[in-house]
């Protein structure tokens, strides 16, 4: 059997997002893209501003943006635990764009403290990531 399914579980603090049998999953980790198929070796990597592409056994694909988390693969299942996980079709593009603009405006200000700058930068990165995932999947 070439490609059987395996169990994928994705959870975030907003609730269980995915618990399904999938054929493959592509994850953008901090170390680069990783494709996971059945019988992958044990593997752990972190995700900062990444994307995830899930292929279901019937061949349908779904893209999602996934931020601040990690992926853990073992013999029985693949687990992705993240702060944010949103399917591309659930992303509110307008909100992401607004957030991007306001973060950019904030960064253009002078006299920001280090914390404020870091906060605005991470907001900008999150918004950019959402927009990118949205565009890749539409």
């Amino acid at each position: 059997m070439a490609l059987e399914g395996f169990e994928l579980k994705i959870v975030t603090p907003d609730g269980a997002e995915v618990s399904a049998e999938v054929k493959s999953v592509l994850v953008r980790t901090t170390a680069g893209d990783v494709g996971i198929l059945k019988n992958h070796t044990n593997y752990v990597a972190t995700i900062d501003y990444g994307l995830v592409k899930i292929t279901y056994p019937d061949g349908t694909q779904r893209g999602a943006c996934c931020m601040n988390g990690f992926v853990s693969v073992d013999k029985t299942q693949t687990r992705i635990i993240a702060t944010t996980f949103e399917f591309a079709d659930e992303i509110d593009l307008e909100r992401a764009q607004r957030s991007k603009e306001s973060a950019e405006a904030r960064l253009a200000e002078t006299g920001l403290s280090e914390d404020e700058r870091a906060l605005a930068e991470s907001r900008l990165k999150r918004a950019k990531n959402r927009i990118r995932v949205y565009e890749l999947n539409h």
Partner: protein
């Protein structure tokens, strides 16, 4: 005099009634807040359960050791993150938690109080308080959990504290809430193996053995140092959500009992009032009859 007695009883009934209208309103508010808190608790539960499971699997298979992954040093100063409520009138909710901490805490240990009641309580205790930046348990969300996690990780790395416990009230059901002390740091491989072996044998009859040849990208140190703070703040957020649901459930139960007591008091007082009224009428009749006899 029966008249004065009647007046006293009447005003007592009035005061009980007004207290009851407050407790009734509080019960309703607690019920509706409980519904929301319970929903949140149910959404978060799978997240932090899986987070704890995954971290425990990773720690048990990795050969790495760092500040966070080591054997528990029982003599090291401990830090208790005490998550209590912002308000009283919730039965034993806050005090049960403080009592549990009191049994465990030693001199030289420190506390991070979350919630107004907790902050107030530990201001009067001889233990060092690391931060009072979180006086409102209700406003602790994901970003605040990260901040608390930051404080803990920083102090832990600096060696200021050697053990970290999360103290919160676990939401078992609408009627039972159990205060809990959960060890958070350090991640002790042997201790994790022991608890894991227990649950595994319960589930399947045989302990699960994981192969140690896990690939970490980019490096084991980088991965672990990135996910451990996530684990800490994720567990804190989970505990805060549990505690919130427990608080409202405890308050609802307490207010329900208060309403019942008020009801009982009112009916007892009404009986007393009617008796006094009857006595007074009887007395008046006796007096009138006695008066007309005298004529």
């Amino acid at each position: 005099m029966a008249g004065a007695n009647m007046k006293a009883i009447k005003s007592r009934i009035k005061s009980v009634e007004s207290t009851m209208s407050i407790t009734k309103a509080m019960e309703l508010v607690a019920s509706s807040k409980l519904r929301r808190a319970k929903m949140q608790e149910e959404t978060v539960k799978p997240y932090y359960r899986m987070l704890a499971d995954t971290i425990s699997d990773i720690i048990r298979t990795t050969g790495e050791k760092n500040t966070f992954i080591r054997e528990t040093d029982e003599s090291a100063p401990a830090c208790y993150l005490v998550i209590a409520g912002d308000r009283g009138l919730a039965g034993g909710y806050n005090n049960n938690l403080f009592r549990l901490v009191k049994e465990r805490i030693h001199d030289g240990d420190c506390v991070i109080p979350v919630g107004k009641k907790s902050v107030d309580h530990y201001a009067r205790q001889p233990y060092e308080v690391l931060t009072t930046d979180f006086p409102l348990a209700a406003s602790v969300g994901i970003p605040e959990s990260h901040e608390i996690g930051d404080v803990i990780c920083r102090n832990f790395e600096a060696g200021r504290i050697g053990r970290v416990f999360v103290v919160f009230t676990e939401f078992r059901s609408m009627l039972t809430q159990e205060p809990q002390i959960l060890p958070l740091l350090p991640l002790d491989r042997d201790a994790l193996n022991r608890t894991k072996a227990d649950t595994d044998t319960q589930d399947t009859g045989t302990p699960k053995i994981l192969s140690p040849d896990t690939i970490y990208e980019p490096t084991p140190e980088a991965v672990l140092s990135a996910i451990i703070p996530q684990y800490v703040s994720g567990m804190i957020y989970g505990a805060v959500c549990e505690a919130a649901a427990s608080e409202f459930a405890a308050r609802r139960t307490a207010m329900n009992a208060a309403n019942k007591n008020a009801d009982e008091m009112i009916s007892a007082l009404t009986l007393k009032y009617n008796r006094a009224r009857q006595t007074m009428i009887t007395q008046e009749i006796t007096e009138i009859i006695a008066g007309s006899d005298a004529l």
